[in-house]
Amino acid sequence: MRRVLLAVVSGLFVMASARERPAEPQGGATVAGKIKFTGTKPANPRIDMSEEPKCKAKYQATPTEETVVVNPNGTLANVFVYVKSGLPESYKAPAAAGAVTLDQDGCRYHPHVLGILVGQTLDIKNSDGILHNIKAKGTKNRPFNISQPNIMTSTRTFTAPEVMVPLECNVHGWMHAWLGVLPHPFYAVSGADGSFAIKGLPPGTYTVEAWHEKYGTQTASVTVAGSETKSQDFTFAGK
C-alpha cells in the first residue's frame, strides 16, 4: 500500500515537473565528436554565374558547389548528425520555438545543411533580390515550390520527421540544400572544424546517425548517463 502511494505521488510529481518546464530538454548528457575524412578530396564543380551578375559580384574567385566540403583540418563539414532512435517513450519534445533561417545569398544556400523540428517555422529568405524558386522535395512531407523574385522571406513548416528533405532552386540548377526534419532537438551539423555536439540528452542508449549528401550514412550506438559527455567520431572516406 505504501509502495503504491509512493509510486502515485512520485508519478504526480513527475507529471507536475514536466508541466512546469515543457520547453527544457529532459536530460543533460552530450554526444560530441568530429567527422573525419580520409582518402581523396573530390573537386566540387565550378558554378557559372554569368547569367546572374548580382550573385557573381559577391565572389572574388569562381564559386563552386558544396557537395563535399573538407575543412583545412581534414574534417568534413555539412554532415547532419542526429539521434535516429533510442529516446525513451516518455520523452516529450519541447514545443518548437523560434524559427530556423535558410538564406539565399550569392545564389547559394546558407546553411547548406540544416535541421528543424516538426512544426517549427522555416524562414526562407531571399537576400539576392533576383528570382529564386525554392522547391522542397520531401516524400513524407508535402513537397512545395514557391517563387521569390524579390528580397523577401517566406515561411513554411513541416509536419512529419524526414531525413532529409532536399531543397533546390530550379532557376539555378546548382543550388541544393538539405533539411533534416525531426520530432526532437537532438541533431547537429558539423561545421568549419568538423565537430558536432548533441546536447541535453536524457540517459539512455541511442542510435546516432551521421548523414552526408554524397557519402551516405553511418550509425553508431552510444550510451550516456547523467550529464556526461560521450565522444563519438565518424569517418567518411572519399571515393
Partner: protein, 526 residues
C-alpha cells in the same frame, strides 16, 4: 448486395461509428472495387499496376505518366504543397491533359466509372487518408476586363520581366530561357519549360483564368513555382498577376488553330517574297499542321520536339514562295543543350533499337517539305512516309548545319526514310532564327527543266504536300523525327477578266435603264 447498397451500408457504418468523414465528396458514388477494375483496364498501361507511373507504355512518354504514390499533382486549385481537390483530379480525368498522352475520359467512361477510378487512384497514397491534410481550394477573384488591350498587356509584360519568367520561358516565351536546359522534374526526368505560344498544349487549360491559376498554385512536381506568396506579401497585386496571365495568353493565337487540309497560295501582283521577315507574310493566311513522332520505321521516336509547323505560301505566276515557321527552343547544334539532349535520349525508350545511335550529339535542326513527283490525277499519292523504293517522292530539305552544301537547302528524291538522292536543282532558301522560332522560306520556279523528277507546280490544282521536322538538340536525326500526313497546296489561279467586267456592265445597264424610266415618268408629268 449491389455496389450501391454496399456504399450506402459503408456510409451508414461510418456514420454510426462516429468516424469523421474525410470530405463530403467521398460520399458521392465512389467505389474503389469498381474503380480498380476500371483502372486496371484503362489506366494501368501507362500509370502502372501499383500507380507508380511505370506501366509498360510509360517509358515511351515524355512527359511521363503521373506517379500516384506521391500524391503530387501539377494541375490543382490548391496552394503549392497541398493535395488536389477531388474536382481537380476529376477535371484531369474528364478533360485529359493537353500536350501530354493523357486523353479526355469523359464520354469514354461513364460518370460513375470516372468517379470510382478517382477514388481508387487516391488509395495509392496515404496522404489522402491523412486527416491532418487540409484540402482547400484557393479563392480566385474574377478576371479584370480589358485583358487584350495594349495597356494591360504592357503591364503583364512588365511583370513577366520583373518576376523572372524569362529565366525559364525565355524572352519571347518559347521555353528557351537560360535555365531551361537544366530543368528536371521531381523524378529527375528532363522537363521542357512550356512554350507559351502554344496555349492549346497547356496541361491545365488555355484561358487567362487557367494561366492565372497555374501562377497562383504552381505546377507541383515541376520547376514551376507558385507566385501566391508575392500577393500575400503585397509585392504584386492580384490584378497585376492577372495582367501577367493575360499577357501570357496573348502570346498564343486567340483560338486553338484548326487543321485545314488545303494551303491556299494567293497570287501576288509583284514578285514573291524570298526573305523570312518580308512584310508580305504578315498579310498572308497561315496554316497549322500538327506533327507526330515517327513510330512506323525503326528506330521509332515517341517524343517529337516539334509539335507542329505553320505554313504560308504565295506565288506570282512564275515562282512559288513557301514559308514554314515553327517553335524550337534551340538553334541546333547548340552545345548548351547537350546535357538535356542526353537526358531526353536516356528517358525516352525506342523499344526496338539496341541502344545504338542513342548518344547525344551536335545534330542540326532540319526540315523537309515533300511533294509527289507529279500532281496526281486522282487521290492516289505516294507513301506519305518519304515514299518507297519504286515510288519516290520529291522533297526540299533544309538544315541548320553551317556550311551544308547548297546553302543549307537541297532538293532530291526520297525512297523511304533511309534513302535520299539529291537532284541538281535546289530551291532557293532563306532562314532566320529568333528567340525560339525558325522561319524558313523556300522559293522555286513553278516550272523546271527536269520534268521527270521535279514537281511541276500548277495553279488551280490540288498539290499533295507533307512536312517533316527534326530538332537536333532533342537528339533528332535520321528516323527520329516528327512527321505529318499528306495535305494539299493550292495555287490560286489568276482571276479571269470577265469577273471584273461583268459587274461593271450590269451596273451601267441598270443605271441606263433607271435613267430611261425616270425620264419617261418626268415627261408624262410634264
Amino acid at each position: 448486395m449491389t455496389a450501391r447498397s454496399r456504399r450506402i451500408g459503408v456510409a451508414m457504418l461510418v456514420a454510426a461509428g462516429g468516424v469523421p468523414l474525410p470530405s463530403p465528396l467521398s460520399l458521392v458514388a465512389q467505389d474503389t472495387t469498381v474503380g480498380k477494375k476500371v483502372y486496371v483496364k484503362w489506366c494501368a498501361g501507362c500509370h502502372g499496376e501499383t500507380g507508380a507511373g511505370d506501366g509498360p507504355a510509360a517509358a515511351y512518354m515524355l512527359p511521363r505518366p503521373r506517379n500516384f504514390t506521391g500524391a503530387v499533382y501539377k494541375i490543382r486549385t490548391t496552394a503549392s504543397g497541398q493535395l488536389p481537390t477531388d474536382a481537380d483530379l476529376l477535371r484531369a480525368i474528364d478533360d485529359g491533359l493537353p500536350g501530354s498522352a493523357m486523353p479526355a475520359w469523359r464520354g469514354r467512361l461513364s460518370d460513375a466509372e470516372r468517379r470510382d477510378v478517382l477514388a481508387y487512384l487516391k488509395t495509392f497514397s496515404s496522404f489522402f487518408t491523412d486527416t491532418s491534410q487540409h484540402v482547400v481550394a484557393l479563392t480566385f477573384g474574377s478576371e479584370p476586363g480589358g485583358g487584350t488591350n495594349a495597356e494591360a498587356l504592357k503591364t503583364g509584360r512588365q511583370f513577366y520581366d520583373s518576376i523572372g519568367c524569362r529565366k525559364c520561358h525565355g524572352d519571347q516565351g518559347r521555353g528557351d530561357g537560360p535555365s531551361a536546359p537544366t530543368l528536371k522534374d521531381d523524378a529527375g526526368f528532363p522537363i521542357f519549360a512550356a512554350d507559351l505560344h502554344q496555349s492549346w498544349r497547356f496541361r491545365g487549360g488555355a484561358t487567362s483564368a487557367d494561366i492565372y491559376r497555374r501562377l497562383r498554385t504552381g505546377l507541383d512536381g515541376t520547376p514551376m513555382p507558385s507566385f501566391s506568396d508575392l500577393i500575400d506579401q503585397k509585392f504584386l497585386t492580384d490584378e497585376q498577376l492577372w495582367r501577367l496571365a493575360q499577357y501570357v495568353r496573348s502570346l498564343s493565337p486567340a483560338r486553338t488553330p484548326e487543321v485545314r487540309d488545303v494551303i491556299h497560295a494567293p497570287r501576288l501582283a509583284g514578285a514573291v517574297p524570298a526573305a523570312p521577315g518580308d512584310s508580305v507574310w504578315a498579310r498572308v493566311d497561315r496554316y497549322w499542321f500538327p506533327l507526330v513522332g515517327q513510330v512506323i520505321r525503326k528506330p521509332r521516336w515517341f517524343a517529337p520536339a516539334v509539335s507542329g509547323v505553320w505554313v504560308q505560301a504565295v506565288h506570282d505566276g512564275k515562282s512559288l514562295a513557301l514559308r514554314v515557321s515553327w517553335d524550337d527552343r534551340t538553334r541546333s547544334p547548340d552545345t548548351t543543350w547537350l546535357g538535356f539532349e542526353r537526358r531526353v535520349l536516356e528517358t525516352v525508350a525506342g523499344g526496338d533499337d539496341s541502344g545504338t545511335g542513342r548518344t547525344a550529339g551536335a545534330f542540326p535542326d532540319q526540315l523537309a517539305v515533300q511533294f509527289p513527283r507529279r500532281i496526281p490525277g486522282g487521290m492516289e499519292r505516294p507513301y506519305f512516309l518519304m515514299g518507297a523504293e519504286t515510288d519516290p517522292v520529291y522533297q526540299w530539305r533544309w538544315t541548320s548545319a553551317p556550311n551544308a552544301a547548297g546553302g543549307g537547302a537541297a532538293a532530291g528524291l526520297a525512297r523511304g526514310l533511309e534513302r535520299f538522292d539529291s537532284l541538281p536543282g535546289a530551291p532557293r532558301v532563306q532562314a532566320s532564327y529568333d528567340h525560339g522560332e525558325w522561319r524558313v522560306v523556300f522559293t522555286r520556279s513553278l516550272a523546271t527543266p527536269d520534268t521527270a523528277n521535279e514537281l511541276q507546280l500548277e495553279a488551280g490544282r490540288a498539290i499533295p504536300v507533307a512536312l517533316f521536322a527534326w530538332d537536333g538538340s532533342s537528339g533528332e536525326h535520321g528516323n527520329r523525327l516528327a512527321v505529318s500526313t499528306w495535305y494539299f497546296l493550292a495555287l490560286d489561279q489568276p482571276t479571269p477578266p470577265r469577273v471584273f467586267v461583268t459587274p461593271v456592265v450590269a451596273m451601267l445597264l441598270t443605271l441606263g435603264l433607271g435613267i430611261v424610266v425616270v425620264r419617261r415618268a418626268q415627261r408624262r408629268q410634264a
